[in-house]
């Protein structure tokens, strides 16, 4: 489609991509191949004795009710995080567009939480909602809510979803603001002259034109909820109570690093790898074509 650019030098292009290739090889292909190998071994923690078991670890993992539970937890968690983080960010972005004075200040304040490390964000929410010392927990109890995320699985889920979404809202906000600015004002003005109300204008003009941004964010948020929320879950609930907030990534950590069952843990990370590859493939091959780019 695009005209081919031909470099006259035969070696230079390879040299230029070499550092990137080296990094990919060392930090992706090497560990990935190790995980693949480990996923077919049954080994003691110290690696003193190991046995090649083909796909036994996968069979074991996939028939484990706790793993199926973690898939369900991951689905609920990821959908909730993506939905909450994107809806809130879109609302804030639309509102921030309407602010006339000190718009920059509002935007800066909105972007701020993105700079907070996941584990710190987790601790922050943990303290705010800690049943015994949290200031917001007092408020909830005052409202008559029996707030105890240490034992109530649903409340624990709400807490980690809130913490994870809060951190991602800034990022989404940034992209939605950019997306909104790219929409020609003339379209909106024309609709206004034709008598379309604010709601109508948003849903028929702004929202469809934001589709590329929304789709991009959907993928980014899903990947974020899958893989970047470990720190938050680790700090806030540790996967508990019971296994109510044990996502697939958290289970990989728990089985591998706490319980030292390396084969199962590696098999789970291979499954996660397949999921990421599938997600990316869907993004590029399938859905992207159907999104209307204005």
């Amino acid at each position: 489609m695009s005209p081919r650019v031909v470099f006259p030098n035969k070696i230079l292009p390879y040299l230029l991509v070499a550092p990137q290739l080296a990094i990919t090889l060392i930090f992706f292909y090497w560990p990935a191949s190790q995980a693949l190998r480990q996923s077919m071994l049954r080994e003691d923690p110290f690696g003193l004795s190991s046995k090649f078991v083909w796909f036994d670890n996968f069979k074991k993992v996939l028939s484990d009710p706790n793993y199926l539970n973690s898939i369900q937890v991951t689905a609920i968690f990821s959908i909730s995080v993506a939905a909450v983080a994107m809806a809130t960010a879109l609302l804030l972005a639309v509102m921030a567009e309407k602010v006339v004075r000190s718009r920059g200040l509002y935007r800066t304040l909105m972007i701020w939480p993105y700079a907070v490390a996941p584990a710190i964000a987790g601790m922050l929410w943990l303290f705010l909602f800690n049943p015994s010392i949290g200031s917001l927990a007092y408020g909830l109890r005052w409202l008559g809510i029996n707030w105890d995320p240490l034992l109530d699985g649903e409340q624990a889920m709400v807490l980690v979803v809130a913490a994870a979404s809060w951190k991602q809202i800034s990022y989404n906000f940034l992209f939605f603001v950019a997306g909104l600015q790219a929409i020609p004002k003339t379209l909106i003005e024309a609709a206004a002259i034709d008598g379309a109300g604010e709601n109508k204008r948003f849903w028929t003009i702004v929202f469809p034109l934001l589709a590329p941004t929304t789709f991009f964010l959907l993928v980014v948020n899903t990947v974020y909820a899958f893989f970047d929320t470990f720190g938050i879950i680790h700090a806030v609930t540790g996967g508990g109570p019971g296994k109510a907030t044990e996502t697939m990534v958290y289970k990989v950590y728990n089985d591998g690093f706490v319980n030292l069952i390396l084969g199962d843990s590696a098999a789970q990370s291979v499954i996660l790898m397949v999921i990421v590859i599938a997600l990316t493939a869907i993004q590029f091959r399938y859905v992207e074509r159907k999104v209307h780019y204005g």
């Binding site: 003691d44 110290f46 690696g47 003193l48 015994s132 240490l150 540790g238 728990n254 706490v258 030292l260």
Partner: protein, 436 residues
């Protein structure tokens, strides 16, 4: 090493001052998980040892939490970069013992140091826990603790309870907890850290009940869990019932509940003796008592089992390095050092001499309650049920137990269901871990 030696050589020729001893010093690395005041103790001990002689140099390295330190050690061993000494928490004992060939028994190392190793100098309860079934001591007990009862004297007085006589049995504890709650003296009556270590493992030993077959795993790795028998169910159902109206309050899986006690929210509290430092620091009006038991069970109270951590030595080092490790362990065993460690940290002394010394100094008269964890552990010769609990995958089994307890305390299942589930799931995990 080569480049280091070369650099040192260049430096020596340039200054002509470098002493030859710089080349002879053998470095001994020590990975540990001690934070705060306990980390200062580690640094201080290393410094004192390094200054006391010139052949070896202990290099302490902080590696994070207990599980993180253990994982770092395992990863390092797999990469053939293991440290000499690694501090492993009680739960990791089974993991380390399963790794024959990766670790070198401390008994062998101590006798390499020249002096004959005399096991009888060490507290028997602790040594038994860190020994193989044949009696070979595998690791060096560094910081051992035992669970005891703490209570808030102010809350006791407000509730009209006798602040000088803490409850001794579980029924008395539950009564007192209810009184604290109903009188409004505090929000919650009783809380506990480590429901697994205190509520199951020590509960079993202290009440002389079977936790698992094969002497709870000390006699062999093939263990069938047994902690769903009637006394356990009765105990946990009582706690689950108290949890319904908040008389018992759950803090978390490890030591999070300490916050509830320190904040004055709960009047009674079971926790490791090693947690005493924080209680003292908070400045609260606290009292100490023995771990409660059930008087209607035969032979109770029996004895408690140690928690804490011990020092393991990896098996891929040279004899010269092992001599250094032996010298360090001998240094640690000295009576004045052990006595000081015990008095400063709240952890138990490792040698009998250090215990006697502390006793003679009048420390226990001035600090009543500090002897409780020792008498609890040493009071009676241990039975098959009370030597300790050792499972090849105890961290995983504790996870399972915690998950079931949380569902029970949330009211989703009864104590019987929780313990039955924990036993079934735990047994399956043990069988998988030993390769069946």
């Amino acid at each position: 090493m080569k480049t280091l030696g070369f650099a040192a050589g260049v430096a020596a020729t340039m200054t002509l001052l470098s002493s030859t001893s710089a080349f002879a010093v053998t470095e001994i690395s020590w990975w540990h998980a001690m934070t705060g005041a306990n980390n200062e103790v580690v640094e201080q001990l290393s410094k004192e040892f390094n200054e006391s002689q010139s052949d070896y140099k202990i290099v302490p390295v902080f590696k994070g939490t207990y599980p993180e330190t253990l994982n770092a050690g395992i990863a390092a061993f797999r990469a053939k970069q293991s440290p000499h000494i690694i501090q492993v928490f009680d739960v990791g004992t089974g993991v380390m013992m399963g790794a024959e060939g990766a670790v070198k028994p401390v008994a062998d190392i101590l006798s390499m140091g020249g002096a004959a190793f005399d096991k009888s100098q060490y507290l028997p309860g602790i040594v038994a826990y860190y020994s193989k079934p044949d009696g070979t001591m595998l690791s060096f007990p560094y910081n051992s603790s035992s669970p005891i009862l703490y209570y808030n004297k102010d809350i006791f007085q407000k509730a009209g309870l006798d602040a000088d006589n803490p409850p001794k049995t579980w029924p008395e504890v539950f009564e007192a907890a209810k009184k604290i709650k109903t009188s409004g003296a505090a929000n919650c009556g009783y809380t506990s850290t480590w429901l697994t270590w205190i509520g199951l493992e020590n509960f079993a030993a202290w009440n002389n009940l079977q936790y698992g077959t094969n002497e709870n795993g000390l006699a062999g790795t093939d263990v069938e869990l047994k902690f769903n028998s009637e006394p356990f169910v009765k105990h946990f159902q009582a706690i689950a019932d108290l949890a319904k109206d908040g008389t018992f309050k759950y803090g978390g899986r490890t030591s999070e509940a300490k916050q509830l006690f320190l904040a004055g929210e709960c009047g009674l509290f079971t926790e490791s003796s090693g947690g005493l430092g924080d209680v003292i620091k908070s400045g609260m009006n606290y009292g100490l008592g023995q771990l409660p038991y059930y008087p209607d069970l035969e032979g109770t109270p029996q004895n408690t089992i140690p928690g804490g951590a011990s020092l393991w030595v990896f098996g891929d080092k040279s004899d010269e390095e092992y001599k250094g490790v032996a010298a360090f362990f001998t240094f640690l065993s000295q009576t004045p050092i052990q006595a000081r460690l015990h008095q400063v940290s709240g952890y138990l002394p490792v040698t009998i001499a250090a215990y006697e010394e502390t006793k003679k100094s009048g420390f226990y008269d001035k600090n009543p309650g500090r002897e409780i964890p020792i008498t609890q552990m040493m009071g009676k010769a241990p039975t098959e049920n009370s030597k300790g609990v050792r499972l090849i995958n105890l961290p995983q089994v504790r996870d399972i137990e915690n998950e079931e307890f949380e569902k029970m305390l949330a009211g989703q299942q009864t104590a019987q269901q929780a313990l039955d589930n924990a036993v079934t799931r735990g047994n399956k995990a043990i069988q998988e871990a030993i390769g069946n």
